[in-house]
């Protein structure tokens, strides 16, 4: 795995092609949602209808996991995670991705996926403390006192597995496409990229579903 090329530095922080693509995706999502909510009609037009459908489908999906009221509360975090991961997984399939210097899918680097996993981890802890107060720490000693090390290890391994799963899938797909390109350009990578569409969606779904499950299990038995 070669090091990503640093494009420029801002205040001493290195900016690679992944970061610039992430800015591009942020701008794209921002524009989409600003345009969709500009003139909200009671009878929606086509674009607003599409965005409403996405939001509603995501809300129903999360309600199936954590119940309606909790899904509404954590919806901004979960929906943003899902949409960002989905778009950045699929950005690897666009033309010029990986070849032009400033354009690489953000989730193909461990830095970005580890950052997302840390966000999910911190959100879980905050949700647990907010719902249960200090009783959240006591839940680590359930059901037996000696289960504490096992519970702790399980809790700490979650961000690790989240980040590695997402990184491995997207980076692996990119690498396989590179190898196939060197064998038979234009045709050989096509099956791999079709799989890439499917797996990009599945990985975004799995990351968000797992985060939702972790949040709902951290706030369980609270009410």
């Amino acid at each position: 795995m070669e090091e990503a090329k640093v494009l420029f530095t801002i205040f001493g922080l290195e900016v690679t092609g992944h970061v610039t693509t992430m800015w591009g995706i942020m701008l794209f999502m921002f524009l989409v949602f600003v345009v969709a909510t500009r003139k909200l009609d009671k009878v929606p037009g086509r674009f607003q209808c599409m965005v409403e459908y996405t939001v509603e489908a995501l809300l129903n999906f999360f309600s199936g996991i954590m119940g309606r009221e909790q899904a509404r509360r954590y919806f901004p975090l979960l929906a943003t995670l899902f949409l960002f991961i989905l778009i950045s997984n699929w950005s690897g399939l666009l033309p010029f991705a990986g070849h032009v210097e400033g354009f690489r899918p953000p989730t193909s680097t461990l830095s970005v996926t580890a950052g997302l996993a840390v966000i999910a981890f911190v959100a879980t802890q905050i949700a647990g403390f907010r719902e249960k107060g200090l009783g959240y720490l006591k839940s680590f000693f359930q059901p037996f006192f000696i289960m504490f090390p096992l519970n702790l290890i399980e809790e700490l391994v979650r961000p690790l597995s989240l980040s590695l799963r997402l990184f491995g899938n997207i980076f692996g797909e990119e690498m396989v496409v590179v190898v196939l390109l060197s064998m038979a350009p234009y045709f050989a990578p096509i099956p791999m990229q079709l799989l890439g569409i499917l797996f990009g969606f599945i990985q975004a779904l799995v990351f968000t579903t797992l985060t939702a499950i972790y949040i709902s299990s951290a706030t369980a038995d609270a009410h």
């Binding site: 795995m1 070669e2 597995s161 590695l164 799963r165 990184f167 491995g168 899938n169 980076f171 692996g172 690498m175 599945i202 990985q203 779904l205 799995v206 579903t209």
Partner: protein, 78 residues
Amino acid sequence: MNMTSAIIALAVALVMGIATIGPALGQGTASAKAMEGIARQPEVAGELRTTLIIALAFMEALTIYGLLIAFMLLAKMG
């Protein structure tokens, strides 16, 4: 090609081969049970399908960990 590169190449091949055995068996079993469930109760096919996909992604992750190790070893070869 010296001895180190040869051993690393062997290790890469072994990692990838062995890493796919367990998850493949697990995914086959999960899919078989899911298909049985759908055949028994077609109206819950949608829920079963979603749960199956999520379970498959879990098992896929284990093979992907092996793939990552293979890539890291490959970078050290030669």
